[in-house]
């Protein structure tokens, strides 16, 4: 992959907090539309990496290039889905989704509401537009959060363990939903997770971060849709887990 082409290029980035080196000269090239899962033990730097991609932190050195443009600060082409839904409790569900259109200054309020309602329909929450977030379940809140992230059709979606707090059934539903929207919108996705089987069932490529760098870059060519009980899925899962455990 040549440098500077379309897609995302992470060039030699390092991040230090005081004396702690969190990321060390990390290099990575990602094609537009690829689904990347990042796994690793706590403190391996995966969340820090995601924050750098989001523009919430600056790398100590190195740069990130998105479609030939060096990234600086917050970028409207990049959306984040956090571990907590981070919905504004004082806005209705549909108003929360409309926040995702904030960067598009040319839209009228009526357009925003209309588009937000359509997006809510896509995540399966039609008819809940005017409810307050506090009446929703955890999974529904994350659906709203996903709708907010994708309503502006970003090029890059960053998912920071967004399903970590959900129960197993809701997670499977969310996997399906995220997968469907990814197929439809063709965004590049980074999913940080501690659940290896989740990483495998969703991604084209699995990255294992260790000591601030990529320790394993595994392409996943298994046919979709992937089933959890598929023999190949569980074999790969075992390999990755063994690899993670080996270091310690």
């Amino acid at each position: 992959m040549e440098q500077g082409g379309s897609g995302l290029h992470v060039q030699n980035i390092s991040k230090r907090f005081g004396t702690v080196q969190v990321l060390e000269e990390l290099e990575l090239s990602v094609n537009q539309g690829e689904f990347i899962s990042i796994v690793g033990r706590s403190g391996c730097g995966k969340s820090t990496f995601l924050r750098l991609l989001a523009g919430l932190d600056e790398p100590t050195s190195g740069e990130i290039v998105l479609n030939n443009k060096k990234m600086q600060g917050i970028n409207p082409e990049i959306r984040v889905m956090f571990q907590e839904s981070r919905l504004l409790p004082w806005l209705t569900v549909v108003e929360n989704v409309a926040i995702g259109l904030n960067s598009n200054r040319s839209l009228t309020p009526a357009d925003r509401t209309k588009q937000a309602a359509e997006m809510l329909d896509k995540v399966g929450l039609k008819g809940r537009e005017n409810e307050w977030p506090h009446v929703l379940s955890g999974g529904q809140k994350q659906r709203v959060s996903l709708a907010r992230a994708l309503i502006s059709r970003p090029q890059l979606l960053l998912l920071d363990e967004p399903l970590g707090a959900l129960d197993a059934f809701t997670r499977l539903e969310m996997h399906q939903l995220i997968y469907n929207l990814w197929e439809e919108q063709q965004f590049t996705a980074f999913l940080v997770t501690h659940d290896v089987s989740e990483a495998i069932s969703l991604a084209d490529r699995l990255l294992l971060l260790e000591n601030g760098n990529v320790a394993l870059d595994q392409e996943i060519t298994l046919k979709r849709p992937r089933k959890r009980d598929d023999r190949l899925v569980s074999e790969l899962e075992k390999q990755v887990i063994d690899r993670v455990m080996k270091v310690h």
């Binding site: 989001a54 956090f82 981070r86 926040i99 904030n102």
Partner: protein, 259 residues
């Protein structure tokens, strides 16, 4: 059965006050107690009616309400603005907060002798005292409210491209609002308290003055009437604040309407 319980629940809080008033009426009319010291409730209502018709009551009530509102606007407004400033700017907070906290520890009514010397007994002195009284609860709770807004929400706002003004309007201010209302309700209590003291000590008008003046002529009925009016005004202010709170915080789980 359920309905009966509900009705009983509605009645129960009133049993004690109504019983007390009936007993008081009986005690006073039967001369079990000196009616000069404890005029009967009917006499107080009668006095209230006479003062109302003569316009005296409305005159004093108007002046007291005016002082309360202007004092609340000045002191509350300043408290709100400084609370915002210090909540939003770490520099301002470092510069101002410790001084404000120090002054806060002085009971504001202790300043009365000094205020009389500085400002006399005119309107300014009373407005100053009321403003000072309401300033601190509003300041402290605005400041605290802003400082405790969920950082995650602010970060979310930044990722979604909200500028500073939008961050303030859409996230910080609504997030601080429940705390600001706590401050407001507390301030309303202090507002009446300060006003009563200020009007009884140095004044020639207002409900507090009406009570103090009545003492000179042993008009116990007017004194009790004044106290009752203060109680009603305090309750009224609290109810108003509560209604505003319910409208503004209708998103809040604690205020959510039961369906």
């Amino acid at each position: 059965m359920k309905l009966k319980n509900n009705r009983l629940d509605g009645i129960l809080p009133w049993v004690l006050p109504v019983a007390l008033i009936i007993f008081w009426q009986l005690a006073s009319t039967n001369e079990w107690i000196t009616s000069r010291l404890f005029p009967a409730p009917t006499v107080i209502v009668q006095t209230g009616y006479e003062l109302l018709v003569s316009g005296i009551l409305l005159h004093h009530l108007g002046i007291s309400t005016y002082r309360a509102i202007v004092g609340l606007m000045i002191g509350g407004g300043l408290g709100f603005i400084l609370g915002l400033l210090n909540g939003l700017s770490p520099l301002a907070s470092k510069l101002l907060d410790s001084t404000i906290q120090m002054i806060r520890n002085v009971p504001h009514l202790a300043l009365i002798p000094l205020i009389i010397i500085w400002l006399g007994i005119g309107e300014t002195a009373k407005l100053f005292l009321v403003s000072l009284g309401v300033f601190f609860p509003i300041y402290v709770n605005t400041y605290h409210g802003i400082r405790t807004v969920d950082r995650g929400l602010i970060e979310m706002g930044k990722v979604y491209g909200l500028n500073s003004w939008e961050l303030f309007k859409k996230i910080i201010l609504p997030g601080a609002l429940p705390s600001i209302f706590v401050g407001l309700r507390y301030a309303l209590g202090l507002m009446w308290l300060t006003l009563i003291v200020a009007e009884t000590i140095a004044s020639d008008s207002g409900i507090g003055y009406m009570a103090m003046n009545a003492r000179e002529f042993m008009q116990t009925d007017v004194i009790i009437l004044s106290i009752t009016i203060y109680a009603l005004l305090g309750k009224l202010a609290d109810v108003l604040a509560k209604i505003i709170e319910e409208i503004t915080l209708k998103w809040h789980p604690s205020y959510a309407k039961k369906k």
